[in-house]
Amino acid sequence: MKTVKKFLRNGLGVIGALIILGLIVVAVFANQIAPYDPNAQNYDQVLSAPSSEHLFGTDDLGRDIFSRVVFGARISIEAALISVGIAMLIGVPIGLLSGYYRGFWDEWIVMRSVDAMQAFPFLILALAISAVLGAGFGNAMLAIGIGFAPAFIRITRGQVLTLRNMEYIQAARSVGVKDARILFRHILPNALNPIVIQATLAMASGIIAEASLSYLGLGVQPPTPSWGSMLNQAQTLLSVAPYATIYPGMAIFLVVLGFNLLGDGLQQILDPRVRK
């Protein structure tokens, strides 16, 4: 309760949370909100400027941009959740085991691989992985997830390294608690806060990454509306129909801002190092 109150006092964090909430509402009620079928082509109204009929205008196939942006929210949320979910699924257990058992595997295999992966610019890495896996939404998610995993390995491992020396972990060992229980009952819950913060911030990057991969044609395939692929298709029309790029671009900007504000807000209340 106290945590919630503290969070509410953090203005920017609340704004972030509201933006994300708005995004979720839009994604869930996309069918009700969107006035048109996002994939319905209307050759009578190709590239029409924003009007009361088409709030954000139409694209080169006469599709309603507003409806496509609304349905694109679904893809973006999926992208954020799935990519970060995959990253956590890979990163958290590896970080836990690596930090708890230490030794050769931790130092020479896990951490050096993490170093190597983090030495690449993230997008190049995701690009390379999805080029190997092939185009498509699922593969794009896997590529982004793998690309994010090192950050989770690092942050989880760092937490474990501090926590494993805490006296209550020693106490649990001295009582005779098994390693698995120590890891999941004692260490993980206490390591969770920074992981949650990292996850929120990673979701913002996940949305950008999905948009970028889709923009490059490796993510969501046409005609499914994704903000990134919309940008991709509209870029050749930039001089003729700027609105076709502006609206999906603004949607990306707003949502990424929302996740970042939320992440910073959570950090303020959850991370004792930042807390004043």
């Binding site: 020693q170 106490a171 649990a172 005779g176 608690v177």
Partner: protein, 326 residues
């Protein structure tokens, strides 16, 4: 009487790693060959200053740290040779009380969950029995049943240390190692916890190894006392002998350094020169010789070993053993 715990030649060396390839370039000899016996029902105090290895000794006996060498005989088994799983089961009989009551309780668990965990991992009793055991033990340590559903942060330092004691007691261990259990507490709270420990000793016939830097506290609670210096035991004796007739020069200096709450009483004080040498590079011979006011040539070259100078008083000092130092 056969000892409950017998430690023989226990060593705990921590490697010092340096360079890019993390090569081991030396060792911190935190515990450097210790022999100890703890008899059933007694309280053995281990006293010494920071860096003397007293806490490391406790943790190595319990295999919270893996010993570098040595034997730890407990109940007919060498703990140092048990597999991890055998040792884990053994922990039912060997419990620990930690120093910092703020850090030694998981902040996310309730007191009930903390106590229940000990019973659960050793499969003691049915759920109903466990509830009863926990309700009993919480009152034994001076708290109430209502406290069980709260979290550690709802308690004061003294109350938390009572919870730590309850956690150690709840599985009815044969030996408890208490590592500075009162040094984080204010004096008025410290006395409450010391009295509680004294009561528990009687009520449960506890065997206790009590690690502390505070000589007065050790004297108050313990039956026999071992004094450690730089990873070794320099003197062991029963309480009365040690305080009335301290033999090792370090023990003498340590006793004389304790400030006494009697302003008019002026005492002869042995002021030791210099600081504790680094356990990574201990002095040759007797490790105390650079600070010892009585040191002679032999002390610089030959390391003394513990030997009985009468009445079960073991001292590790050439001068005392040869009668040069009375």
């Amino acid at each position: 009487m056969t000892p409950l715990l017998e430690v023989k030649g226990l060593q705990q060396y921590f490697p010092i790693k340096s360079g890019f390839l993390k090569k081991t370039t030396g060792y911190v000899k935190a515990v450097d060959g210790i022999d100890l016996k703890v008899y059933p029902g007694e309280t053995l105090g281990i006293v010494g200053e920071s860096g003397c290895g007293k806490s490391t000794t406790g943790r190595t006996i319990l295999r919270l740290l893996e010993p570098t060498a040595g034997e730890v005989w407990f109940d007919g088994k060498d703990l140092a040779k048990l597999s991890k799983e055998e040792m884990r089961r053994m922990r039912k009989d060997l419990q620990m009380i930690f120093q910092d009551p703020y850090a030694s309780l998981n902040p996310r668990m309730t007191i009930k969950q903390i106590l229940m965990e000990s019973l659960m991992v050793h499969k003691i009793g049915t759920t109903a029995e466990r509830e009863r055991i926990i309700e009993e033990i919480i009152e034994v340590v001076g708290l109430r049943k209502e406290h069980l559903n709260r979290h550690p942060h709802d308690f004061s330092g003294g109350q938390r240390q009572r919870i730590g004691i309850a956690r150690a007691l709840v599985v009815k261990p044969k030996l408890i190692i208490a590592d500075e259990p009162v040094s984080a507490l204010d004096v008025s709270i410290q006395s409450q916890v010391l009295n509680l420990l004294k009561d528990l000793k009687k009520e449960f016939n506890l065997t206790l190894m009590f690690i502390s830097h505070d000589l007065s506290v050790v004297k108050h609670l313990c039956d026999r006392i071992a004094v450690m210096y730089l990873g070794r035991v320099v003197e062991i004796a029963d309480k009365r002998t040690l305080f009335e007739n301290p033999s090792h020069p370090y023990t003498r200096a340590l006793l004389s350094a304790v400030p006494v709450a009697k302003p008019r009483q002026k005492r002869e004080r042995i002021l030791l020169q210099g600081d504790l040498p680094s356990p990574a590079n201990p002095p040759s011979g007797c490790t105390f010789h650079p600070r010892c006011p009585y040191a002679t040539e032999i002390c610089k070259t030959k390391a003394p070993s513990l030997s009985d100078i009468g009445a079960g008083q073991l001292v590790s000092c050439h001068l005392v053993q040869s009668g040069q130092l009375k």
